[in-house]
């Protein structure tokens, strides 16, 4: 009787010691916004329409540029430089810096840009325009497919020493990126439109540049 009880107790104790795990612990879902670093070069091929003295000239050309993005889950910065030539129209060179707030799926940004127009006749004396900018940006990963969509809209407003010569401007870009699954590179294609209006007294000089954008570069994180 006692032996039976002892054996029963021993078996119960050893059974309790060999409990099987029933399920893995629940895991809090990881935030999808991951820090990312991106360096890319791009080219925009399209046309530029410039109105000067009630005369609109349209010509094709291209813009080449590079941009850099450094972004954490809730904030980020970007730098961009570009330079374009469109026939006999003044060449354009610009650089801007932006600060992003909120996650990349929907973020707002503010920034500043300097825009220079110059020609081959006066390469050392360009007409420069400083603008402030504000806008929204949305980057969405399409699951784990590697495809991500990007929408950006920005408004340029006069700022700085040249604000008397700037009325306003706008920029919009829609693009799709494909980030390769193993190597940290991406390719990009999209469409970009930029509108800018100079002021000289009472005379406005509007222009519009639009075209297809191609690019590619290094992408770390942000998947």
């Amino acid at each position: 009787m006692i032996r039976t009880a002892v054996v029963t107790i021993m078996i119960a104790a050893s059974t309790a010691a060999a409990q099987f795990p029933t399920a893995p612990p629940p895991v809090v879902r990881e935030p999808s916004n991951e820090a990312e670093f991106r360096v890319s070069g791009f080219m925009i091929t399209g046309d530029r329409a410039l109105e000067f003295a009630n005369n609109v000239s349209t010509t094709t050309g291209s813009i080449r540029g590079a941009d850099l993005l450094l972004r954490a889950s809730g904030a980020g910065i970007s730098l961009r430089v570009l330079s374009g030539e469109f026939g006999r129209q003044p060449h354009i060179t610009s650089a801007d810096a932006r600060v992003y707030l909120l996650p990349k799926e929907f973020s707002i940004f503010i920034g500043a840009a300097r825009r220079a127009l110059w020609s081959d006749l006066n390469p050392d004396a360009p007409a420069t325009f400083d603008v402030g900018m504000g806008g929204i940006s949305s980057t969405l990963n399409i699951g784990a497919s590697g495809i991500r969509t990007n929408l950006t809209a920005a408004y340029y407003f006069p700022a700085g020493p040249s604000k008397e010569r700037v009325k306003d401007g706008m920029e919009g870009e829609a693009s799709v990126m494909y980030v390769f699954p193993v190597v940290p590179f991406f390719v990009q294609a999209g469409y970009r439109t930029e509108v800018f209006t100079q002021v000289d007294g009472t005379r406005f000089t509007p222009e519009i540049i639009r075209g297809v954008r191609f690019g590619g570069g290094l992408q770390l994180g942000g998947r």
Binding site: I11, V27, I142, S145, A174, P206, R210
Partner: protein, 368 residues
């Protein structure tokens, strides 16, 4: 003749009455005071005395009365009675010998006791020769073994040794219940000396749970098919053998998803946004000043690019395998590892219980 028959009848009655009288409690007390012998032993003593007095008929009669009583007698008492009958049927006096009766009774004796040896008070060289002659021609079997056998581990066996006077086949079965349900059985090939092994376990389970069983041992003469069967009770003392239940595999329904759900048709929204955005940029975004808005036309490249981007986005959403969830993958891996460790531990514990499992078989090896 009639006188003799009456005399025999009276003698049998007297013996039976004497047995009954000796079997009463008072008589038993007297016998216990005199020694440890039982009333049956006293009657056998009377038969022995009759044999010693050369009164072979009476010795035979008294010995047979012992075999005829209704109360249980031991194997030793039965053997002794049969030996007196044999000795009475085959005395030294040739005219008193009944060889046929002696041989027949000897066969009965040798079948159960192959080492049968008559005590010197009953035998003489002629009878010894007769015993040997019968032993050589009669299939007899004897079973022996330790009455208490402790069996430890899955490969332990209880062993019963069998010997026979002639080559034979032997088998045993352990039976229980009113229908003699066979729990386990085995056999050995033709021999005169072998071992029957009763396993403690089969298939990592005790062969017999605790309880009382009957071991039936049979021997069959390989030449004549003459069969001898013994039944022995055996008490098995065996604790319950409990194993830890080990699941065959992880319940996959308990695992955390290692990939997020497919993006699927949700990709329609970003497709519309990016496609529509490109379309809007190519058609609607224009300077408000001047006449440039009226001069330039819609850029068809924008619509094409927008449509292409929308299509790519939709296809990407439909082909999306789902985002990997590293935390869940790690949790599942840890879960699998802990399951494996627990299973290994349980297997070790089960193996320990198996190898240390102990049961005891208590045999009562007096033939029944």
């Amino acid at each position: 003749m009639t006188y003799l028959r009456i005399q025999w009848t009276l003698r049998r009655v007297a013996i039976t009455v004497g047995i009954l009288a000796l079997a009463t409690p008072a008589a038993a007390q007297v016998q216990q005071a005199a020694g440890s012998s039982t009333p049956i032993d006293q009657v056998l003593l009377l038969a022995q005395q009759a044999y010693d007095d050369l009164n072979y008929a009476r010795a035979d009669s008294v010995a047979r009365s012992v075999l005829a009583v209704s109360i249980p007698i031991t194997s030793r008492q039965r053997t002794q009675a049969l030996m007196i009958i044999v000795a009475s049927a085959f005395p030294e006096e040739v005219e008193m010998q009944k060889p046929t009766l002696a041989r027949g009774t000897l066969r009965e004796l040798v079948r159960n006791r192959i080492d049968l040896k008559f005590p010197s008070t009953l035998t003489w060289p002629g009878l010894d020769s007769l015993v040997e002659a019968v032993r050589r021609t009669t299939f007899g079997m004897q079973v022996s073994g330790d009455s208490i056998q402790a069996l430890v581990g899955p490969d332990a066996h209880a062993v019963l040794r069998v010997r026979s006077t002639l080559p034979g086949r032997f088998q045993y079965s352990v039976v229980t219940g009113p229908n003699d349900s066979v729990i386990v059985f085995d056999s050995i090939a033709v021999t005169t000396n072998g071992q029957l092994r009763i396993p403690a376990m089969r298939g990592e389970r005790p062969t017999m749970p605790a309880g009382v069983y009957t071991v039936v041992v049979s021997g069959t003469d390989s030449a004549t098919a003459d069969m001898v069967t013994f039944r022995y009770p055996v008490r098995v003392e065996a604790p319950q053998l409990e194993f830890i239940r080990i699941p065959a595999s992880i319940d996959s329904s308990k695992l955390l998803p290692e990939r997020a759900k497919r993006f699927g048709y949700k990709s329609l929204i970003p497709a519309l946004l990016v496609g529509g955005g490109a379309y809007a940029l190519s058609t609607m975004l224009q300077p408000q000043e001047g006449s440039i808005g009226n001069t330039i036309s819609v850029d068809s490249k924008g619509m094409a690019v927008g449509g292409g981007m929308a299509l790519v986005t939709i296809v990407a959403g439909l082909l999306d395998p789902g985002r990997r969830i590293p935390a869940n993958i790690d949790a599942n891996r840890a879960f699998g590892e802990s399951f494996r460790v627990a299973a290994d531990s349980a297997r070790s514990e089960n193996a320990r219980r198996l190898t240390q499992y102990s049961m005891t078989m208590r045999f009562s090896l007096e033939p029944r």
